[in-house]
């Protein structure tokens, strides 16, 4: 639907797009606001906003800690929506929600779609929701026109990838390697054949995430992927160098 179109259009001018990831409420919504501002100003093309969850099973230690602290400092799902509404209004790039399924389930899955639609969220990334469990979710995503971003893993067969692609839209999130977020990725021979498999299985744009942290990483992906996803690294930049370092970090990537 709308995301695929946006990506293809934007790709006309850029050899690769950047999608960044932030954890809402970490270290505060004020910090998120400033980080997002700098990201957008420095040319980020899409932003996935993670609504924190107490059991982030697929995340690595940095993001786990961010989730946990965001919850501990009182970040509520309601506030995440309000903040997201503010962001979509302020910035002219697509925003996605990334979170675990229980957040939708408690909110009420349809209500979650309805409210997300209302505030202009373009896609959902739900790492613990395989198509086998997502009947309602995929029906609603068609109904509300929000892209369900499917995830490919290095362990996915081509057959499985095609099956997954049948449920998704917008783009495919290709997890660069086994494991959780936040560890460095080796772009070795296996990675090449994995990406070939991804490419063969869908015509949707491909985003690659997990362990992308430098200009070299991003360059490696040019020609192979459409979007490079920067996750853990921006959290580390803020933690280690402060909010003001985000802009220059982002602009250094491409």
């Amino acid at each position: 639907m709308q995301l695929e179109e946006y990506i293809k259009k934007t790709r006309a001018d850029k050899n690769i797009l950047l999608m960044t990831h932030i954890v809402l409420g970490y270290t505060s919504l004020e910090v998120n606001r400033e980080v997002i501002r700098q990201m957008v100003e420095n040319g980020v093309d899409l932003i996935e906003m993670q609504i924190p969850f107490s059991e982030p099973m697929a995340d690595g230690p940095v993001i786990v800690k961010a989730n946990q602290e965001a919850i501990e400092t009182g970040t509520k799902v309601r506030q995440c929506f309000d903040f997201a509404a503010e962001m979509t209004a302020a910035h002219d790039i697509p925003f996605l929600f990334m979170t675990y399924y229980n957040i939708l389930y408690q909110y009420g899955v349809e209500q979650f779609f309805k409210d997300s639609k209302k505030i202009g969220i373009k896609g959902f990334i739900i790492p613990d929701l395989p198509p086998e469990e997502g009947e309602e979710f995929f029906r609603l995503s068609r109904e509300y026109g929000i892209d369900p971003i499917m995830i490919y893993a290095p362990t996915s067969t081509e057959e499985r990838m095609k099956y997954l692609a049948g449920y998704g839209s917008g783009f495919i999130y290709c997890v660069a390697r086994k494991g959780v977020t936040g560890k460095q990725t080796d772009f070795d021979k296996d990675f090449g054949s994995y990406m070939k498999r991804c490419r063969n299985s869908t015509t949707m744009p491909l985003a690659v995430g997990f362990g992308i942290s430098s200009r070299e990483d991003v360059e490696t992906l040019v020609g192979i992927a459409d979007i490079a996803v920067i996750g853990t690294k921006t959290i580390k930049v803020v933690e280690e160098e402060g909010i003001d370092a985000v802009g220059s970090f982002i602009s250094s990537l491409r």
Partner: protein, 409 residues
């Protein structure tokens, strides 16, 4: 879109894509094993030569007399090798791992019983072994940590979240998504994504099969009620399966009431009013969570019951009113433990003692021609630090102070 692994509205397999193949392979191996009578035979042979199955059924004559009601029978899972029912599941999964040709096992553990059992199985089968354990549980169950290490396992203290069982499960999954080719995750209870609930229930069903036969031969008829404590629910499912088809046998699951159901400090997902439906740790069940879906901190004197979720199979049986749920508070547990030790010379694990509490409350409602059965999931030796502490035992404290001073010197 095939929806497998559901029990009524509960269960499923909410897993990250990277584990899809691993689960496919596991499902295949499990389905295959289930079909082969030789596999179950290999399992029972192993359990009867390496552990001591069938475990006995003990008639607790003194307690029966004390309460003046039903005849109380105790199924003695404490006499398993490593001291709890956890051995059943673990040895069964060990046989599956051997079939699948994997070389490494990982597991979460709360009380440490499942960790010790897994480390034991790994030593026996020659697997590498890593155990994830909440840092708080590492503190309260140190003896078990010591044994796991001595059995050759690496114990990783988990510092995220509430630092208890649920966080250890998350961490085990994080290991698994990194290292699935050679590694099997030995889930310790009837929770988690399909096929774990079904698989663990299958291996634990050996308890109920034996118990049914034993009570028929020792008491002469079926028990009126069967009591089991419920952490994840594996020992309860184990014993309940022997009586599910006997409509007249009431099945009672006992959860951790902690400091009371009204206190907010408990782990009662079904007995109280605090649980609600949710999806986490790969499956759908009743969780203790807030309105946003964030999991709550739970509390129990028994580390093995201190868990936010509960078996989807039990949630289904609860919803269908086949299993009744109750809760036992920490202080009721200490009283029942003391009584059981003094009257029968039996030391149940703190987890298991929860089942005793509810059985004691109900024994007097029945008459002496009726029987009730308590599943004693494990022995209390492992809990000495917690129990001595709870009883505020002065000579124990003095002993520990002395030892501490000796080591500090």
């Amino acid at each position: 879109m095939t929806k497998t692994g559901y029990y009524g509205n509960w269960g499923g397999a909410f897993i990250p894509e990277v584990l899809y193949e691993t689960f496919r392979e596991l499902n295949t191996a499990f389905e295959q094993a289930k079909k082969e009578p030789a596999f179950w035979q290999e399992y029972t042979d192993l359990m009867s030569t390496y552990s001591c199955r069938p475990t006995p059924l003990t008639h607790a004559e003194n307690l029966s007399r004390h309460f003046g009601g039903a005849q109380i029978y105790i199924k003695r899972e404490d006499l398993n090798h490593t001291g709890a029912h956890k051995a059943n599941n673990v040895m069964g999964q060990g046989l599956l791992v051997k079939r699948m040709g994997k070389k490494r096992v990982i597991a979460e553990t709360g009380a440490g019983q499942h960790g010790v059992a897994t480390a034991t199985m790994a030593a026996k089968f020659g697997f590498d072994c890593t155990i994830y354990m909440g840092e708080e549980d590492v503190m309260r169950q140190r003896p078990n940590v010591f044994w796991m290490e001595k059995l050759g396992a690496t114990v990783v203290p988990v510092t995220s979240g509430s630092k208890t069982l649920k966080d250890a499960i998350n961490e085990a999954f994080r290991d698994w998504v990194t290292d699935m080719d050679d590694t099997h995750y030995v889930m310790g209870t009837v929770c988690g994504p399909h096929p774990f609930p079904e698989m663990v229930a299958w291996f634990q069903s050996i308890i109920g099969m034996e118990a049914r036969k034993q009570i028929l031969s020792q008491f002469g008829s079926l028990p009126s009620r069967v009591f089991a404590c419920v952490g994840g629910g594996s020992n309860a499912m184990g014993v309940f399966q022997g009586f599910l088809d006997d409509a007249d046998v009431e099945l009672v699951g006992v959860e951790a009431g902690g400091k009371g159901l009204e206190s907010g400090q408990h782990a009662s997902r079904l007995a109280g009013k605090d649980g609600s439906a949710g999806v986490a740790q790969g499956y759908k069940t009743m969780f203790l969570q807030d309105g946003d879906g964030q999991m709550c901190d739970t509390h129990s004197v028994a580390a093995g019951l201190d868990y936010v979720g509960v078996s989807p199979i039990l949630t289904d049986l609860w919803e269908k009113r086949r299993v009744r749920f109750a809760a036992a508070t920490d202080s009721e547990v200490m009283d029942a433990l003391e009584l059981t030790m003094k009257k029968e010379g039996i030391i149940p694990a703190l987890e298991s003692t929860h089942a005793f509490v509810q059985a004691f409350k109900e024994a007097g409602q029945l008459n002496e021609k009726q029987a009730i059965l308590i599943n004693m999931s494990g022995r209390g030796d492992k809990d000495i630090f917690t129990i001595a502490n709870a009883f505020d035992d002065p000579s124990w404290k003095e002993f520990i102070i002395g030892k501490g001073a000796e080591y500090a010197a």
